[in-house]
Symmetry: C3
């Protein structure tokens, strides 16, 4: 039971509170939390987290027994865990894709991010990778977008990428915005939303299939106001999970304002 | 005993070191810390914290037993704990004010923040709320200011609000600056101080009665230089308590410079 | 063993992986971590940290028994620990330098930072301090630069300072950039690198002898691209150690891009 649960009702109606959720996903970025911090996170905020991403290649840097224990703790709270897409790209280009998936399975990972943010991967190879990950029983999230500003995709290219990946049956398509959430994808240099590009990219697409990387509060507020409390959001910092959930439920000024004046 | 206590004396004299303090208050914003982090915080910095705010509606989101344990730990270190003002606003507008105060008492909260940052509350209702919280034995902090930029108060309005609340006998009047500390209250878009507005707002008021929300270091340095080491400061992030105390005691360049060249 | 160690090889070759390292130093700034956080840090990232700095005068503010336990934990992972330079400046100007070094030794510190970022110390006194710290068996890091913008050194002055300190046999010369890494030393107001000043400062100097304070990712990427994976970097936040190591090893887009397209 949550504190004050019997006294105060949730202001912004409609938030899906039970897991597993297929909408209203919160994906959290873990860049190297230790075990005490993971315990803190799941105990206070576990029910609001659907997916943990062990960001970029960080899994390769942390002692194996710590990675295993972390994943076990997350799994106990019904949280999927996936390595960062950049790490898959490294494994792929080193010709180790199958070994990578097998090892991920062994370590306890339940989801896989498939991206081409840094290296070039043909559509044919991308399709094979997604199929292989599905075959091995992973939940697959595909990411559309480039990491480097000079390779940034147009709205039209993002739209094509989304459609291509949805046809392959992925769980969600993530739109790349990096950990920083600035100057890439739908965000300008100060993290503001480039609405026109967003419109082009999502035209005709059901946003339930999309997971927006939205590390900044103004971005989270924008998407909740626009698509409701169950919009799928990612690259949330561990200490921002509860504040984000407060936004989703109208327990913070920015979205409470939608209900009361 | 603090490390080096017998060797190095405090450079900036006058800081009140014993609790309970009526001046020199540090109010810390907790947006969802877990138990390991709370233990860390009180063990390293407990003596420098007077009030913990479980920010906005976060209390409603965290398991009740965790909230209770957190409050107990804070109380053991003589730290008052209050829910965020936004949460009181939700309870009030849902007609649950008395239940809210009763439940807060039961959970161990010892202080209450009374605000109207998001919704509209008449002066008459505000006065009743403060009286009721006093009756139930809470330390009451009233907050003056609005959360939304378009509703931002003028210096004169802040001055009036401060006087109104002090007449009701509150412990301190908090000046709203949100968690972000930018573009609201006394701060411009980049977090700099709007000195002229500040002058108008505090003219003729004893600043000992005011608690400035000052999440950024430049703001903390400004207030310490201007009003001394015992100025009341709030919305301090947990990991900024020790750095702020270093500023208060002249153990960091910015304020050490006031003592030695 | 690290996770995926047998599957995926390190993309950016040459990173020194065994401690003690004389190059490739990562110096981390600890502004008041508690024991649970320290355990998390050493368990996940201990092998990538060479030096912990208990920043500015924070050591003076934390209970002695906590400081001792923290240092012990760090030392178990072969990590040197030093108090911040500002704290040495306070001890020196209070005429307590010898007592300060003796007490630091007793508490378990193994390194000392010698700076004059806030107060003025003559070259003669600086030389004496470094000699005394060496005599007491400390690893000595000297810092060149001023904390206040209006006293910021020129490139030429930094170059002279580096040469002066290297002649005294210090382990590394740190270039001052403060915790914020903006508007001082080699960084402009937004944290960008002032390349021309950097050129002047390091002309004719082996960069292995220098430790660059580089709290921001763009700064870390710049130095790794320019001087390789073993450039010495400092003022790294605890939660940025793993992300920095990912940059050093090419496990993140920004430096993976140097290896694969």
């Amino acid at each position: 039971m949550r504190a004050f649960e019997k006294i105060v009702s949730i202001p912004l109606k409609g938030r899906i509170l039970n897991k597993p959720r297929s909408d209203g996903i919160t994906m959290v970025i873990d860049t190297g939390l230790g075990l005490n911090a993971v315990k803190d996170l799941v105990q206070t905020a576990g029910e609001y987290i659907d997916i943990i991403k062990l960001a970029f290649g960080t899994s390769r840097l942390i002692p194996e027994n710590i990675v295993k224990k972390k994943i076990k703790l997350y799994n106990e709270y019904e949280i999927d865990v996936m390595p960062g897409g950049t790490f898959l790209e490294v494994a792929f280009i080193q010709g180790k894709l199958i070994d990578y998936l097998t090892e991920a399975k062994k370590l306890g990972f339940t989801a896989i991010e498939v991206s081409d943010g840094t290296i070039t991967i043909s559509d044919k190879d991308r399709s094979k990778i997604i199929k292989e990950a599905h075959n091995q029983g992973f939940k697959v999230l595909a990411e559309v977008g480039k990491k480097m500003k000079e390779e940034d995709l147009t709205g039209e290219e993002i739209a094509e990428g989304i459609k291509r990946d949805l046809e392959l049956g992925v769980f969600k398509v993530i739109i790349e915005s990096r950990e920083a959430g600035k100057g890439i994808g739908f965000y300008d240099e100060s993290g503001g939303i480039i609405e026109q590009k967003l419109e082009v990219a999502i035209k005709g697409i059901d946003v339930k299939n999309i997971l927006f990387e939205a590390p900044h509060k103004n971005q989270q507020v924008y998407f909740i106001k626009r698509f409701g409390p169950n919009v799928n959001l990612g690259n949330i910092q561990p200490n921002e999970v509860i504040p984000l959930e407060a936004l989703r439920q109208g327990l913070r000024a920015d979205t409470l304002k939608l209900v009361y004046k």
